[in-house]
Every structure is written in C-alpha cells, then in structure tokens.
C-alpha cells in the first residue's frame, strides 16, 4: 500500500499540493482524475521520489518511500516526460530496465512491442508522440513491478492502440495482480476499468471512493422549469441547464422519490467529474 500523509509540495511560487492525504491499496486499479494543473503529475512524481515533498511523508507498506532504493524498486512509473536520451535505441533501454528491475520480462516486452507495431531498433528521438507513449507503456507493463503508475498513458494513441492497451493492461493485471494507477483525461474510456476513483482539485483530494458508488452518487432530473426548481430546493445541486421551458439539474446525493412529472437519469463518472471540478 502506498500512503501519502499530509503532503504539501510548493514550487517556487506555486503550491501544487496542500496537505494531501490518500492511500493506494494493493492489487487494485485506481483512476486518478483531475483537471490540468490539479496536481496529478506532482503526486505521481512524489510517489516515485522524482520530487521531494515540501512537507509530509510518503510510505510504501509502512516504509518511508523517499530516497529508499529497496522500496522504490517495487514501483515503476510511466511519466509524461521521456527520461531517456533521444539517441538511445528502444531495445537498449529494455536491456537497461532489465538490469534495474530483475523481474523485467524481456520476452513479454518484445511480444508487446510487436503487437503495437513498435520498432525496437528505432532511437527514442525518432519515435512519434504516439509511439513514444507506446514505448513507455510497454516498458511499464513489462517492468514486473508491483505498482504500475501511468501518467497520461494514451497520449497520442489512436482508438485501436488505446483498446489494445486496455486489453493488455487487464491481461497483465489478471495474470500477475498489481496496483495500477491510471492518471488520464479520458475518463469515459477507463470508467469500467477502474475499481476506485480519486479526484484531485487544486492540490486537494475532492473525492476518494469505490467506482461502484459513483453510480449512486448523483443523478440528473429533468422536467418543467418551475417543477424542477421546486423539487430541487434544499438539495445539493452541482449544476443546471435550461432549454426553453425544460430544465436539467444535476444533483449530488441518493435518488429519493421523484414525482412522476420529472424524469431522472443517472450521472456517469464523466458528468460527475465535470460538475464536481467546475469552479
């Protein structure tokens, strides 16, 4: 389990995370969601020792994580930045990674590269944005680590490759259970993959719940404007839209008896996310 305890991270003039508390349990698939600049990458970078917290501590299975080689070897993080020199060949990086991660599966990496059509003899600098993502995905999936962190995993990938990634991720997860953290903007695509949702807003945790509960968290009611307004009074309204005399209201909370004149539809993760994170 990775625990983040009261972590604050300040950059020169910006506070990216404010005394944040969250934990990621074993063998689960997490969705880490947030708008641009919410602090997702900062959190992932802190969990992999790529940044040092200004305040607070991070633990893995109870051991301090920062500057701890033994513990850090259990985590592999696919980052937004490419950490390799552009002049190095992909196959060489596979070899290097195998040196640092003894559980790295070279045969699996080669098989994945072939499935995605990644030419491992190419240099990192020669890869397109999509293939750079694919290269990092393959590296992470094959790393053999117990915690796989993905920061924008499908950046620049076409629909076919995205589907292939989700399939391969689930296959890897089923074969060798591990903790997966997916940080992405494409919420709809991962909604069914994840077991648990963590939403960050302005460097704080906004929501931390099992994905199943999301279905019951909110709903949309629609009907005549005055009736909707009357019924919604005193309820937690996330947002509303009006078209002519018709009104849509997005409500946070469990669905209670709704009069026959109003229609209720469920609020999916994407809609919930948009309404929660709208400022």
């Amino acid at each position: 389990m990775i625990e983040v305890r009261n972590v604050t991270k300040n950059f020169r003039n910006v506070t990216a995370l404010r005394s944040l508390n969250v934990s990621f349990g074993e063998n689960r698939i997490y969705g880490l969601l947030g708008r641009n600049g919410a602090g997702k990458s900062t959190l992932l970078n802190l969990m992999t020792n790529r940044l040092i917290p200004t305040e607070g501590f991070l633990y893995l299975d109870g051991f301090p994580l920062t500057e701890n080689d033994r513990v850090l070897g259990k985590i592999f993080c696919m980052s937004e930045n490419t950490l390799y020199e552009p002049s190095v060949r992909v196959e060489r990086i596979f070899k290097w990674t195998a040196m640092f991660y003894p559980a790295f599966d070279t045969a699996y990496a080669a098989a994945l590269a072939e499935k995605f059509g990644l030419d491992t003899r190419k240099k990192v600098g020669q890869l397109s944005t999509g293939y750079r993502s694919i290269f990092k995905l393959v590296l992470t999936l094959a790393s053999g680590a117990e915690y796989l962190l993905f920061d924008e995993p499908v950046l620049g990938l076409d629909a076919n490759h995205r589907q292939l990634f989700y399939e391969e991720l689930l296959a890897r997860y089923s074969k060798r259970p591990c903790t997966v953290i997916l940080s992405t903007h494409l919420i709809e695509e991962i909604a069914s993959l994840i077991e648990h949702v963590v939403i960050i807003k302005d460097g704080r945790i906004l929501l931390d719940r099992p994905a199943e509960e999301i279905h019951n968290m909110g709903f949309t009611v629609s009907g005549k404007k005055d009736e909707v307004e009357k019924w919604c009074a005193g309820k937690n309204i996330l947002g509303s839209q009006e078209i002519g005399g018709l009104m849509l209201a997005h409500i946070l909370g469990r669905r209670s008896d709704i009069p026959a004149s109003l229609t209720a539809t469920p609020l999916d993760l994407q809609q919930l996310f948009i309404h929660l994170t709208n400022s």
Binding site: F11, R12, V14, A16, N36, G37, A38, G39, S41, T42, N45, T48, N49, R50, L51, I52, E67, N68, D69, L72, G73, K74, I75, F76, S79, E80, N81, L83, Y84, E85, W96, T97, M99, F100, Y101, A145
Partner: protein, 232 residues
C-alpha cells in the same frame, strides 16, 4: 542499493566515448611522433594527460542530468545516483590517468625529439593526473547540477560571474611572481606552495575535488524532475 547497476550503466553507456577518445589520442600521438622523428628537428610532446582532463570535465558535465533521469526512471535514489557517480568518477579518472600517461610515453620512443613535460616517476604522474581528472570531473558535475537547479535569471548571472572569476584567478596566477600588495599575499604564497612539488599539487587537486563533490551533493540532494508547472 543499486550502486552496482548505476555504475554498470554509466560504464556501458560511456564506454564507446572512452574507447573513441583513447583511440584518437593514441593514433594522433603515434602519427605526430613519426612525423617529428622523420623530420629530425623540433621537439614533440602530445600532453595527452592534459587533454584527458578536459575530456573528463565534459564527461562530468554530462553525468548530472542524464544519470539523474536514469535514476528517476528506474527507482534509484539521489543518494545512490551520487555515490555511483563518485565511484565512476574515481574509476574513470584512474583509468584515463593510466592510459594517458602510457600514451605520453609514445613520443619517448624517438629520444632525439622528445622532451618530457614532467620528470617524475610514471607512478607519481598517474597519481597526479588522477587527482586532476577527479577534480575536474567533480567540477563538471557540480556545474551541470547547478545549472539544472537554477532558473533563468540565476543562469544568466552565473554565466557572467564564473568567467569573470576565472579571468581574475588567471591574472592573479600570472602575477604570482610579481610582488603585489600585502592584502593578497596569502594567495600567491599558496600558489607557490602548490607549484613547489607534484605531491603538493596533487593534494591541492584532491581538496579541489572534495570541495566540488560536497557542492555537487548539495545540488543533488533535493533535485527534482522538471515538470510542466501548473500556471498561477
């Protein structure tokens, strides 16, 4: 600790550069020795060991960001990254000193055109060049680290201050022989002591290395990845 892996990685990734460097210097020295021996006039000394110092300075500069990123990408701490650099710097300084002192012996095969740069024993020379190499590698590492950590304004300031300081030092060294005011007396005295024997000079470069390794650790200790910072 993944010191071994980090060390091996540095060795593997920089081995071609070392081999190419040694080959070029050896070839150049051999060719020039033959040319001078044929002509029979003038004297020749390649000073390969001094060229090696600059080569290692560049290696030191290149060691910071690339190694740090490899460490970040592979779950290696800053501490291990720094220690592995220390190990690699010591190893490559010793290797380069050894090989370059050997290369510098090539011109002595033609005694008529050869004047040695240093008259000390080869062992002593290797030790001296080792300390010089080590010092400059540490210096390069620190410079690269400091640049990595600095923002734009600091980079510009430092880019002006360092050359200015270097020129001042150079002027001071050039004026060592000439008597100057008493307030700067200790510095020329120290420089004279340093130039008195190769052992003193080696000691000086070891101190130099220690200073920049310490500064190097300071810039490494809390170095972070560069990420797109959130606006506002």
């Amino acid at each position: 600790m993944k010191i071994k892996q980090m060390f091996l990685w540095q060795l593997k990734s920089s081995l071609p550069a070392f081999i190419i460097f040694f080959c070029i210097i050896t070839a150049l020295t051999t060719v020039l020795t033959i040319v001078f021996a044929r002509n029979g006039n003038g004297t020749f000394n390649m000073a390969a060991a001094s060229i090696g110092v600059f080569f290692l300075f560049v290696v030191g500069c290149a060691s910071f960001a690339e190694n740090l990123h490899i460490a970040f990408g592979n779950g290696v701490s800053r501490r291990t990254h720094f220690l592995s650099f220390l190990l690699f710097a010591a190893f490559s300084s010793a290797l380069t000193a050894f090989v370059c002192v050997l290369i510098d012996m090539i011109p002595s095969l033609s005694p008529s055109t050869y004047i040695p740069l240093l008259t000390d024993t080869p062992g002593m020379q290797i030790f001296f060049y080792f300390t010089l190499n080590f010092g400059f590698m540490a210096f390069g590492y620190f410079l690269a680290g400091a640049y990595y950590r600095m923002n734009k304004a600091a980079k510009i300031t430092v880019s002006i201050i360092i050359p200015a300081a270097a020129i001042t030092c150079f002027v001071l060294i050039m004026n060592t022989a000439a008597p100057v005011g008493p307030e700067v007396q200790p510095l020329p005295l120290f420089l004279q002591w340093m130039l008195a024997s190769i052992m003193n000079a080696a000691l000086f470069w070891l101190l130099f290395a220690a200073l920049f390794l310490f500064l190097g650790w300071l810039v490494t200790r809390r170095a972070g990845i560069r990420q797109q910072q959130p606006a506002g």
